[in-house]
Symmetry: C2
Amino acid sequence: MSKKDKHHEQVRIALEKDGWIITNDPLVIPVGIRKVNVDLGAERLLAAEKGKEKIAVEIKTFTRTSMIYDFYGALGQFRFYLRALAKTEPDRILFLAVSKDVYDEFFDEAFIREVVELENMKMLVYSIIQEKIEKWIK
Amino acid sequence: MSKKDKHHEQVRIALEKDGWIITNDPLVIPVGIRKVNVDLGAERLLAAEKGKEKIAVEIKTFTRTSMIYDFYGALGQFRFYLRALAKTEPDRILFLAVSKDVYDEFFDEAFIREVVELENMKMLVYSIIQEKIEKWIK
């Protein structure tokens, strides 16, 4: 199992511990792109429900040398999914899931926090070791 | 010279042929991120002027296997630069530069066109062979 798949599993477990029911893994958003396989790549979307709340979770592991480039990828994918969900399932809220160490090392920067807020990037911070959700940033 | 540097040079030439004066190469945006070297990586921003118009150009070469992942990276970087420029130089307009072959193969998809428009992604399409600007998408 690759590192990315492992994080995927840990986020699943963390959500379940928090009372969420995983409804789609992966969640496929039909945006009608012919030439593009949106599901390609390691990061798959998770869909979960808890009571009336419905969420989609983009899991990003930040493995590359430059965290800012990982962030560009995560932000672009987030904005893309946001536009796709707005068309297909407007009541499902999108979250970016990152581990606590990545959050503390990178997302705590003032300008990054500002961009996250301005870009409507809701986040879920998880603990890799404890497999639980540390905090929600809404 | 790497492929990416070559495109950088070709976009420079294409802009100059179109009457632009290159004022900064690279353009460094001071956003005050301590731990992050924003200029890291192959893609550098270009700044140019023509009369009263001021632009910043993000050059993206789409070399990876999955064009959608290249797009996520380009979109995220674009939104980040957009937020950074809004703080430092609000009168400078940001453009994403892509080659005509990439534009024709990927950006012509209906949903991609929609995302580009909704995300305020202005574009400049260049010809690699002729080293000229094919079109501006504003």
